[in-house]
Subunit: 135 residues, 2 copies
């Protein structure tokens, strides 16, 4: 898994190295909006979130999942603790995947890499919650 | 608002134009993982989601919010309808913001742009749900 972590896609380029376009010819250096994408946001609650073996297995699954060819970019996260009532920090893992469109998302759902993830990791989780959004 | 939409940051570069790094010297063209970021995922339910005036006001607020200087990249979305029980497509708007770290996230929370958004848009929403995740 550590070797996988060494493959890092540098797409969070930030303001300094990114390109901007504007019909007006002006450049708004604060504009950072992603457009024409489908954002797939998944939150997992493991059955036994303190079980390191289960966590390792799940992380390995998420790492593999992130290699599905339809994904433009992805993020595997754990919660940032918060005392705010509007923040849900109870999940065990999050998985964010950005697709070009609904078609790519649907292809991903049935791709062998995703099906393998479901087979390996579904038994480990208690609950999953998904939000899909398009601009 | 339409003019704002013309400012498009081209950071969803996809596999063909992105840079990769690897300690092993190999390139995994499927690797798309964002690393060393905080992913701030917010879902809003408006009090009156069918009120176009309220929607316009809220969208304007989100567009302004996306200009907060701490944000590396962001996405404003509406739900993709789904019949799957694990998918929550009941929200009105989603807002995804990627920060470099917790410090930038905390600065954003107290930034005038965010405070203005809360002042203008908080009265329009029934419910908000936030998930913050770091790798």
């Amino acid at each position: 898994m550590e070797e996988r972590r060494d493959f890092i896609m540098k797409i969070v380029a930030g303001k300094n190295s990114a390109s901007f376009s504007s019909n007006s010819g002006k450049v708004n250096t604060h504009e950072t909006l992603l457009k024409n994408v489908l954002v797939h946001q998944v939150f997992f609650w493991l059955k036994d979130p303190d079980n390191q073996e289960a966590r390792n297995e799940f992380e390995k699954g998420l790492q593999m999942l992130s290699t599905a060819p339809q994904i433009l970019s992805s993020h595997i996260g754990t919660p940032v603790a918060s005392a705010r009532t509007v923040v849900d920090d109870s999940f065990t893992y999050s998985f964010l995947a950005i697709f070009r469109n609904k078609e790519d998302h649907d292809l991903y759902q049935n791709h062998p890499i995703h099906l393998q993830f479901l087979k390996d990791c579904q038994p480990l989780r208690e609950k999953v919650l998904i939000f899909d959004a398009m601009d």
